[in-house]
Amino acid sequence: MVYDTHALAAPPSPASTGTPLVEVRDLSVEFVSRESTTRAVNGVSFSLAPGEVLCIIGESGSGKSVTMRALMKLHPAKHTRISGYMRVADHEVSAHSEREMRDIRGSHISMIFQEPMTSLDPVYRIGDQIAETVVHHKKCSRADGYARALELLKLVGVPSPERRLKAYPHELSGGLRQRAMIAVALSCSPTLLLADEPTTALDATVQIQVLVLLRRLQQELGMAVIFVTHDLSVAAQIADKVAVMYAGRIVEYGSVADVLQHPAHPYTQGMLASTVSGHMRGQIIEAIPGSPPDMRVRIEGCSFVPRCKSVKPACRRGTPALVDVLQGHQAACANFV
């Protein structure tokens, strides 16, 4: 195996100019139905420099995907209440109308999904699905769109791309489908790529191919990436910064090395401890007891209290805010206040 120890030191990029590419302040997302209100995201704030990779880590229902979809305003307006400030480059997403968002989606911000099988339209050819995006945003001819599609398939490393342009999604293998979806997302050279667990549904030997590809493309194209995953080791492979989410809040934030190697929040510590590896053989895993809270119920105080091993009276009083543990490494835990 080849390790690239320089990868970490890599991107100083345009980040040095100072203004972050993405700014999210106090984002909340609620899903309203007749029976209940699900508070999926509760006051999330973060920022991201151009060319930087942020991994949002969390278990199912932690609000990580919801946060990302909110950035693109993909939630159905009818049952969703979104509040807070969101900005990507010079687009104030939170103030944009649906019509304005349509120009941004797929061009400035694009997204790749977990299941390539169900995320591509089954009755359109791969080439059509890529060219369609190019034609829509660049207002170019269909022929130019196809030329661009071919170029993109080559870029994402699809073998015999001419033939694949005419293929339907069900005629491709899982890895190729995921590459085709990446090609769709990159078709208009976005400045921000949102990736929703893009490697989770893939086999181990294919997952690593896609991860390496994504990292190469991210560096070559200088994109910023928000990468959602539940897998800490995937984050270790691709992230510059890491945000750990629990029950709709960011509970820890910092550089990937800080968070994974010196976790501060009890939840992050628990996650790391319960991630199985071979040298734990014959030992009991220090699992986090219980299960994540029901997001339909409003909780007083820190939502991790029922599962936490170091609870103080202060924990039940109010929701802890993110505070610096070290320079650039923050955690939301009463133990650090």
Binding site: Y3, D203, A204, T205, Q237, T275, G278, S291
Partner: protein
């Protein structure tokens, strides 16, 4: 990390102690297991090929061990589990359970086999009957095997408590009211209700969140010791398999490519596929990033697989001999860590074959 603790229980549950052949007798002996699903096409739907889901597999499971089975999607590991449970009929197979051949005139009947061998399915929406309270789901097996209804329900309550679900709270609940981890505990309790000696766990923790996965793995370890169980643990997660298994079997496209003790497989893999699989594991250390994928491409379609060695299309060491002849697993007899690769057989003619 704490050592495993000895515990005693409020509810001593029955443990199946029907050991026939003694410690040395393998619990399960599988020989030449084969299952091809026909692929029909053309005007008259003639058989044009076959998905070689499980193609001539032999292995044994020792008493009290955990045999891990790893492989990528489509390698036939789930088919293998269903074949062992006789949920689908094999094309060819000799199965010996603790010295008794299965389904033969003088051997153990299918009904008795199923009493002794149970299966835990992957947690999915379909693993539990949505119209049945979970207590009834667990009690179903014992009732079928002639236990009185009230006794079966008492047993179900004991089992629920044993897997960490308080029966008075959860017994009457329906599956949609439970979380993924809780459902998986019910699945385990259901499998235990017939006091089996062998549990086949088919991706039993794969769909769970990491923190819940850890809880269930702990539970499985405890149950194994307390109920004197033998596990067949099927998973695609190499870390979990390494944690729980005593021996590991690696599958590729319906065949076993390597089998051996866990430290041997992980410490000294002999088959190039096993090596690639191990290298595809991601490190938790951000300083150790993979820059070059260990192998390219997807696993090929199991319909009409490549000739010779099935891995040769993705193998960097492939030579003429790999296309011409199929490597066998028992190249070196008596080996406790055989691999189906020409490079491990000095007589194969592969240039890299160990002398």
């Amino acid at each position: 990390m704490k050592p495993m603790a000895e515990r005693d229980f409020a509810n001593p549950l029955p443990i199946n102690t029907a050991d026939r052949g003694g410690r040395q007798q393998p619990m399960l002996l599988v020989q030449s297991l084969k299952k091809h699903f026909p692929v029909k096409s053309g005007l008259l739907q003639r058989q044009k090929g076959a998905v070689r889901a499980v193609d001539n597999i032999s292995f044994s499971v020792l008493k009290g061990e955990t045999l891990g089975i790893v492989g990528e999607s489509g390698c036939g590991k789930s088919t293998l589990a269903r074949l062992l449970m006789h949920l689908i009929t094999a094309d060819a197979c000799t199965l010996v359970f603790d010295g008794d051949p299965v389904s033969e005139i003088r051997g153990i009947t299918l009904r008795d086999l199923r009493k002794n061998m149970q299966m835990v399915f992957q947690d999915s929406y379909s693993s539990l009957n949505p119209r049945l309270p979970i207590r009834n789901t667990i009690a179903y097996g014992p009732v079928v095997h002639g236990m009185a209804k009230s006794d079966a329900e008492r047993l179900a309550n004991d089992l629920l408590n044993r897997v960490g679900l308080r029966s008075e709270i959860y017994g009457a609940r329906y599956p949609h009211e439970l979380s993924g981890g809780q459902k998986q505990r019910v699945n385990i309790a259901r499998a235990l209700a017939l006091t089996p000696r062998v549990l086949i766990l088919d991706e039993a923790v794969s769909a769970l969140d990491k923190s819940v996965e850890a809880q269930v793995l702990n539970l499985l370890n405890e149950l194994k010791r307390d109920f004197n169980l033998t596990y067949l643990f099927i998973s695609h997660d190499l870390n979990v398999v390494q944690y729980i298994s005593d021996r590991v079997l690696v599958m590729y496209l319906g065949q076993v490519v390597e089998i051996g003790p866990v430290e041997e497989i992980y410490g000294n893999p002999r088959h190039p596929y096993t090596r690639a699989l191990l290298q595809s594991r991601l490190s938790m250390n951000p300083a150790e990033r993979v820059t070059e994928p260990p192998i390219g491409g997807d696993p090929p379609n199991p319909i009409n697989p490549p000739s010779g060695c099935r891995f040769r299309t993705r193998c960097i060491f492939a030579e003429g001999v790999c296309e011409a002849s199929q490597p066998t697993l028992d190249a070196v007899t008596g080996d406790r860590h055989p691999a189906a690769c020409h490079m491990t057989d000095p007589m194969s003619g592969h240039t890299k074959a160990a002398a």
